[in-house]
Symmetry: C2
Subunit: 223 residues, 2 copies
């Protein structure tokens, strides 16, 4: 008779807390998105483009992660959206304990969508579960089309990739199709969007995807 090997995954402290948060978000019907990118790829600009539309239909909250400054939180608050700023003071990523602490700024019963803007870093944040439903990676066209193969972890762990700053393509040597092919080579189920926060091109597709995911999670009827 053969042996049966029982494998138990030992959860780290961050994973345990993320698991608890995921339950909490589920109980309260909150869709949670974790945005990841390099510094300056346009995460905050993208939020400035989607939040004015989302907030008309949903109760949206934002958690901003930065090493220093309240700059990004101030940009979000100008839109009229509640925003909690986490300053990591040198740390390179957000952790679930920070998210738990931030939640005291929101009324979970009323919240529909929680957006986390992680620290600008295409490496470390990809490895930390924050209890989110989806990780969304951003790459800007100015960074070059090889970024998906040079930073494969973030592409592998994300559900969607937003190729941002498409308005600059005419003055760059950036091959969109090559970038997409590199990304799909690492993660074939990746949803890919092309956006420009300047011209607003492609922004409606991102909003539509977020709404779809919200109704999918909550089981509510899309009106």
């Amino acid at each position: 008779m053969g042996n049966i090997k029982v494998e138990t995954k030992i959860l780290t402290k961050n994973e345990q807390k993320a698991k608890y948060l995921r339950m909490l978000f589920k109980e309260n019907n909150i869709l949670v998105l974790n945005f990841l990118s390099s510094p300056g790829s346009g995460k905050t600009s993208l939020l400035e483009s989607i939040l004015p539309i989302l907030k008309e239909k949903y109760n949206v909250g934002v958690i901003e992660g930065d090493l220093a400054t309240e700059n990004d939180a101030e940009r979000i608050r100008k839109i009229g959206v509640t925003c909690y700023q986490i300053n990591t003071h040198g740390a390179c990523h957000l952790e679930s304990s920070g998210i738990e602490k931030a939640l005291s700024s929101f009324s979970l019963k009323e919240l529909n969508i929680l957006i986390i803007e992680n620290v600008g870093n295409l490496v470390c944040p990809a490895e930390f579960d924050l209890g989110e439903d989806y990780k969304i990676a951003l790459i800007s066209t100015t960074e070059g089309e090889d970024k998906p193969i040079k930073y494969p972890t973030v592409i592998r762990n994300s559900s969607a990739l937003i190729i941002n700053k498409t308005d600059l393509i005419p003055v760059l040597d950036f091959d969109v199709e090559k970038c997409k092919a590199y990304a799909r080579g690492i993660n074939s189920s990746l949803e890919i969007f092309e956006t420009s926060c300047k011209t607003k091109s492609g922004i409606d597709n991102v909003i539509n995807w977020i709404e779809e995911k919200y109704y999918e999670k909550t089981g509510l009827c899309r009106s």
Copy 2:
């Protein structure tokens, strides 16, 4: 009579190795530069601009740090410069032990300038000493002028800041003077360069600075 407090700094394993490397570089009269930036700010493009000129007068070597791929090393080798590629397989920064290992690819007796291109990450690499003489940070104009205050550690620990992709300024909302003021507010002795690898504007200033630092370190006469 007062007490005399004796403080001994306990060096980490990385710092110990970096100290040893610094001695080794000094003994062999090698100037060592550690380039840091976000993914896609143009570190490799900058090296492609400066190496063809530097290699005419100096024996130059390059160590490339990336999570994955040999792409950058291949770009450097095309110029005819010896390049060692370190793949960190997910790790977010280079460490001095990796540099020591890479050195077997170079003849230290013959080398004049060693350039390290760190992993694309504006956060973690700033904290790790590789035995270099100078850390040089790059920010691209597409990332926004607030990056120095949002990523203060890298600015504080660097000797020079290169504001790259200046050719794109006409199509961006990027305030160069504001960016410089932010950077100097964190590190008043920072040397700041403005470059475009496309038009080659400002590249000569960077090369001149590197040459100055080489002669300063070696005590040799600049011909």
